[in-house]
């Protein structure tokens, strides 16, 4: 999943990075095919070059290795909102067929109080302002739902044209990368379609793990397995050093 997410950054110059899987994928991309990728963290760093994976977006190394450190209001107003950033990388608790995201609350039925999620963070404006959005999350019926309990962040809204109507700048989510495969919005309907599966995964496994009747591309590709170089770079990032030969 991390390797495929890293590959999806191909051709991007600047990436607004959330912590966790997105940060791992973005750093892996910078260590493999995209050495010039500019990593921007919402904690205020432009061009961070960490040598190990940060646990939090506030790890000191992100500031120490950055081209510039700015305030949090500045990162959101002058850098993100201004539409300067190519790719936003988001995780999610719940996703629907239009790649809308819920990270706020879970409906646990009439007799129980809502389940509390962390909240929006930077996501609504990252999804609104970056030129495109990549999403990374684990594939399950709990995460891929027919109907969101709460719309925290708009992906493609209720379908084609909705982003333009809402005045959202970028093209929105272009790929949802999971541990089973890759979904991409249909250019006509904006609905997520299964376009690739990882080696060893079946289409049935994916449709089974999706809470709505998932559309499947006419020809579903199989992602390339991680290369030795990618695996080595990922190991090095996790252990905190340069990749070993």
């Amino acid at each position: 999943m991390t390797v495929n997410a890293a590959r999806a950054l191909h051709g991007s110059r600047t990436c607004f990075v959330g912590i966790g899987l997105p940060s791992a994928a973005a750093n892996l991309a910078r260590r493999t095919s995209q050495p010039d990728l500019v990593l921007i963290y919402e904690s205020g760093t432009l061009g961070s070059k960490p040598t190990r994976l940060p646990l939090s977006i506030g790890d000191g190394e992100l500031a120490d290795t950055a081209d510039a450190v700015v305030s949090v209001p500045e990162i959101f107003n002058y850098w993100l909102q201004a539409g300067r950033i190519d790719v936003g990388f988001l995780g999610a608790a719940q996703v629907d067929r239009y790649a809308n995201i819920n990270t706020t609350v879970i409906d646990r039925g009439p007799d129980r109080p809502e389940g509390r999620l962390p909240g929006a963070g930077g996501a609504p404006e990252i999804a609104a302002s970056c030129r495109k959005v990549l999403m990374v999350l684990r594939h399950s019926r709990r995460n891929f739902v027919e109907r969101l309990d709460f719309v925290t962040t708009v992906g493609h809204g209720s379908g084609p044209g909705d982003r333009a109507r809402l005045g959202l700048l970028g093209q929105g989510p272009v790929a949802v990368i999971t541990d089973l495969g890759v979904l991409r919005p249909d250019p006509e309907t904006a609905e997520l379609v299964l376009t690739e599966i990882h080696p060893g995964v079946t289409v049935e496994q994916v449709t089974e793990a999706t809470g709505w009747k998932l559309r499947v591309a006419d020809s579903v590709g199989v992602t390339e397995p991680p290369t030795q170089a990618e695996l080595a770079a990922l190991r090095a990032l996790k252990s905190g050093g340069e990749p070993r030969a």
């Binding site: 940060p54 939090s56 404006e125």
Partner: protein
Amino acid sequence: MAEIRSLRDAVAGLIHDGDTVAMEGFTHLIPFAAAHEIIRQGITDLTLVRMTPDVIYDQLIGMGAARRLVFSWGGNPGVGSLHRFRDAVENGWPRPLELDEHSHAGMANRYVAGASRLPFAVLRGYRGSDLPKRSSTISTVTCPFTGEELAAVAAVNPDVTVMHAQRADRAGNVQLWGLVGVQKEAALAADRVLVTVEEIVDELAPMPDAVVLPSWTVSAVAHVPNGAHPSYAAGYTVRDNEFYQAWDPISRDRETFLAWMREHVLEAS
């Protein structure tokens, strides 16, 4: 002009029951020691404001100090949930917690408006999100030049902002650097400002990427080395990532949490 005071006196003098308190620090320079002093002094009914509530507010909420939380992302960064926050919201333990919930961009701009003493700030945000339905501090304005509708967020003006910084001079000028987050805005938005510092020095040598708060914008400075732990102060301490991970099992269970707070906060000082 900032007075240099003990942490105990500064907290007692500046923070009162029912106050709106912002304890900022975007993962860096989080004023944990000051929060622990608030807990020890039993100050309560607070409206707590913070972009990322983090373990510091998990502790305050779990100890019943807060009646309301204004925030944009409530997790243990890189680890998982804030269990005390969730328990308060989901189960009202130890007391119910009202929420005013925003996005990061919205919260950052609320502080900007507060620091600018404007009643609101404008951003291109919240479009299509359900967040405005649950908050009375999100609205819209129309651009008088283009007709575009934009989000408006109400200013945040805390009674007190509490922060940690690397150092102050003896006149009470405060200097911080590294990830400076939204600290300057949070300080300038507040009526009163309490800063804990790693070090008090004769002279503040200029530092790259530093923010200086002149003494006349600060109410009190308290000398509290390592006062951000388990957060950190760049150049002085490092982030205790292990503690953040250890907090997950400590905070999952009410009794374990209370025992930990008793041992490490209430009976410490």
